[in-house]
Symmetry: C2
Subunit: 389 residues, 2 copies
Amino acid sequence: MSRILAHYDVAAPAAEIEARAAALALEQSIEMPLDAVTSDHVRREVVASVERVEWIEPAGGEGSDAGGGAGPETHRVVLGLAPATMVRADGTAEIGQLVNMAFGNCSLQDDVTLVDLEIPAGLLTAWPGPRFGLDGLRDRVGAAGERRALTMTALKPQGLPPAELAALAATFARAGLDIVKDDHGIADQGAAPFAARVAACQRAISDANAATGGHTVYAPSLSGGPRQLAEQARIVADQGVGMVLACPMLMGLPTFDELVRHELACPVVAHPAFGGAGRMAPPLLLGRLFRLLGADATIFPNHGGRFSYSPAACARLAEVALEPWGHLRPCAPVPAGGMTVDRVPEMLEFYGPDVILLIGGGLLSAGAELEARARQFAARVRSLEVPIP
Amino acid sequence: MSRILAHYDVAAPAAEIEARAAALALEQSIEMPLDAVTSDHVRREVVASVERVEWIEPAGGEGSDAGGGAGPETHRVVLGLAPATMVRADGTAEIGQLVNMAFGNCSLQDDVTLVDLEIPAGLLTAWPGPRFGLDGLRDRVGAAGERRALTMTALKPQGLPPAELAALAATFARAGLDIVKDDHGIADQGAAPFAARVAACQRAISDANAATGGHTVYAPSLSGGPRQLAEQARIVADQGVGMVLACPMLMGLPTFDELVRHELACPVVAHPAFGGAGRMAPPLLLGRLFRLLGADATIFPNHGGRFSYSPAACARLAEVALEPWGHLRPCAPVPAGGMTVDRVPEMLEFYGPDVILLIGGGLLSAGAELEARARQFAARVRSLEVPIP
């Protein structure tokens, strides 16, 4: 099987980068001096290889002495990680080992950023990817066959009782929003325990749909350890809930992987909470890895909001989530974080129709005009002519 | 119940820091404009409070204009997180929610580092802490009542078959090392599947102990999602294994929490892999949080090795792991990462006797002299007079 190519940005002087790359290859595979390895098999099939080392133009673009200044410069180092480090005897693979080999120890080293992973075709089939994907989400909200952007909002604030969250949910459903998710801070707190909240909100949305003929879907937020997650998945199924929200980095990637494979029959929206993790590029973590494990949609901080992602990073993240990738269905990009209805035309211009727009606080700030503003959000997204790239 | 105090370093100009702190308090609680919150209960009991904002002397120590320069300066912001955001109706608490409220969204913001968490006494009892602790580990390796440093090494490289790993384990046990762990890269790979490897290594160590009268303990590395972890914990119990290694950030903190509470009857050594996570201070993550969830020992990169932690950060991490903290037993600090037998006196001088020294590659590089060097490591740690702070 071909190797997994892990792309890193490494800050090191040009004179030291070859040695630094070789050390990184040992760190991310056998974690011991190569001299002390006596097994030919280990040297050939386990130790990571240095595939490429390239000098990178600094982001600022200023001229720079690539030839050997003493100060650190950025280099792109590509390692070849051996499949044998992450594949079981039965041929299945461990996501925890993929991340461990790519970024376990070097996440603790300040000079290394993990930028991308190329997974060979033979290994890619080890993971399911989105089971529904963007078109599956469109089906679920009554937009089958339409190539239009979808709308999403969030129930908040946490601390409200189930009846008040359910009333909010009903308002959003009446306004015609496609997806109403829990705020990612809503878990199993005393104010609105999961079972009571999910039952109330799902009933409110079903009733509103029945009244309007709409297809709004509720996505409650899952939280906790494996036992609690399994119980919440059971409640989701029992209540006929059509979608869930999950935070893969909070629950742990291997736990998210098992949850999708074994506990959930409905689509999954991934939330990036706790995902600032140690210098992994956002397009890799939130775009590629969450999609690999089966996120049908991935929420990320849009540029120009409360977070500092650049337009280029956002465009790349959306591209990675959607582009053809082996057997994996497209994962819907969900730019969010301080968005407003006023920004809808600009965002659709930027992302095109293959997107879910998420506006939370920007609706709630309308106060008594909440339903009107939500309706405006839904209508504007449905009516705008969006250029298809 | 008192609030959880979350300490952040925030890079912002002095003129903007009060507004930035207020925005952070909303981001890390209700994630919506305060104006749009109509519930008094939410305003009082759910929204995070800004407890303190202080200007911090830059690490370089150079004089600086604290009064309002336009450039970003670092401020310490202390938020009061509400217990209601993480406590269930039955009074138990979610570790995922503690981390989510402290660092969920702001882990994605470049200007914020989470430096520390102060957990009030009433909430602290929600977590077990180390079930054995440093003294429990000393008991297990036949050093009950001795206030001495312990020794640890690692089986590696991954890729060796069980018989060769077991032979290495026997060598280390004969040499008198206290703890022999799997390398954290060893999982359930085809070369040495978990069940076969653990049985072989445990038998090798038990046999060596029987021959020498020693008390070496084997700590295999657990990996995978909840189902695989539960199966591995069962094998550990069946084989009479005395300790395990786990990577809390790879498996996810809520999954680690459940593993310790429900699956494991033996002590746990925590490994920091994937722990570079988004600007959380190492003493907080590897010292405080891993201890909170029940790590009996915590491995971290020692200064002067392959990682860039400063002596001050290492000293603080060890202090946080050991210092009195509610009902929690001390968690043994395990400095590691490129250590050698030559550094033993200096490390014991630095850390004192309440420490576990971990040397892996530094032993394996001895080649044919492996057992002699391991014996020297064990003997040196046992014989050195170490000042008790």
